[in-house]
Amino acid sequence: MKHVDPIKEALKPPQHYPGSRTYLMVFAALAILTLIEVGVSYLTGGLKVSLLITMSAVKALLVILFFMHLKYDSRWFAFVFFAPLVLVVPLIWISLIR
């Protein structure tokens, strides 16, 4: 079995993150979604709430996955960050439907 020296592993250069092109595409998506969100906010009806929450969640995920590099980093970081959602999502949901 090959022995992995943790010190040597640590000395490896950091993993490569997405380049400027990806960041600019994510930025464009965030800007367009924000514009659509503002338009949708002037609508009435039940669909408005679902659309706004979905777009907001997509925007948040784009920032977390690409700008915060969670898509490229260790899965442990994702676990640590998303674990509180088990409590958070029901809490927000209850406050929304009250």
């Binding site: 960041y23 969100e37 442990w76």
Partner: protein
């Protein structure tokens, strides 16, 4: 690589025997606690809003806040580009993008203060006027405080960048600052929808 350089690199990248970067793990743990803090505040706000209904579309300035949201998104882009710059060893671009981040963040906070002033002096909304007002100022104020802390952190990172403390092999501290700044952006993305648009 000499032994001395290796020691410095190990120290600066916060290596651990688990293979995980401890500084980064610590930051993600901190952000997880921030998720819980903001979630409790948001749930409280939504409850207050339910008890004291207010037409956000008439009281709050949505076009101005949409512009402010765009400004914060721009600041997230410049932070991401600053990390990409130092990853390639480009010190000048790192400094410039961090400076832009500071300018965008400062503008965001300035517009938020203008909004507060307008709402309170115009008699439209104040922390003491209703449950909606109390919740609105508590949640957006907590977020604004986080932006303020981020701006101080940004200045410190700019100072370190100016002194040449970062390189293509050592930019973990820029990344950690970036994680905090992006998180503040994520919180605002959610607050903008829940407070202003719903």
């Amino acid at each position: 690589m000499s032994e001395a350089t290796s020691t410095i690199t190990v120290h600066e990248r916060s290596a651990s025997t688990t293979g995980l970067d401890t500084l980064k793990l610590g930051m993600w743990l901190f952000l997880a606690t921030e998720v819980m803090l903001f979630s409790a505040m948001i749930a409280g706000f939504m409850d207050m809003r339910g008890r004291s209904p207010a037409d956000a579309h008439h009281v709050l300035n949505i076009p101005l806040t949409a512009v402010n949201t765009f400004i914060l998104i721009c600041s997230s882009l410049t932070v991401a580009l600053s990390v990409a710059s130092i990853e390639q060893g480009n010190q000048k671009r790192l400094r410039n993008f961090l400076l832009l981040t500071f300018l965008f963040g400062g503008t965001f906070l300035g517009i938020q203060i203008f909004e507060y002033r307008h709402l309170i002096t115009g008699g439209e909304l104040a922390p003491w006027s209703s449950l909606f007002g109390a919740g609105f100022f508590a949640v957006t104020g907590l977020h604004g405080f986080h932006v303020f802390i981020g701006l101080i952190w940004c200045i410190l990172t700019i100072i370190k960048a100016t002194r040449g403390r970062f390189s293509a092999q050592n930019f973990e501290q820029v990344e950690i600052f970036g994680l905090y700044w992006h998180f503040v952006d994520v919180v605002w993305i959610i607050l903008f929808t829940l407070i202003y648009l719903l």
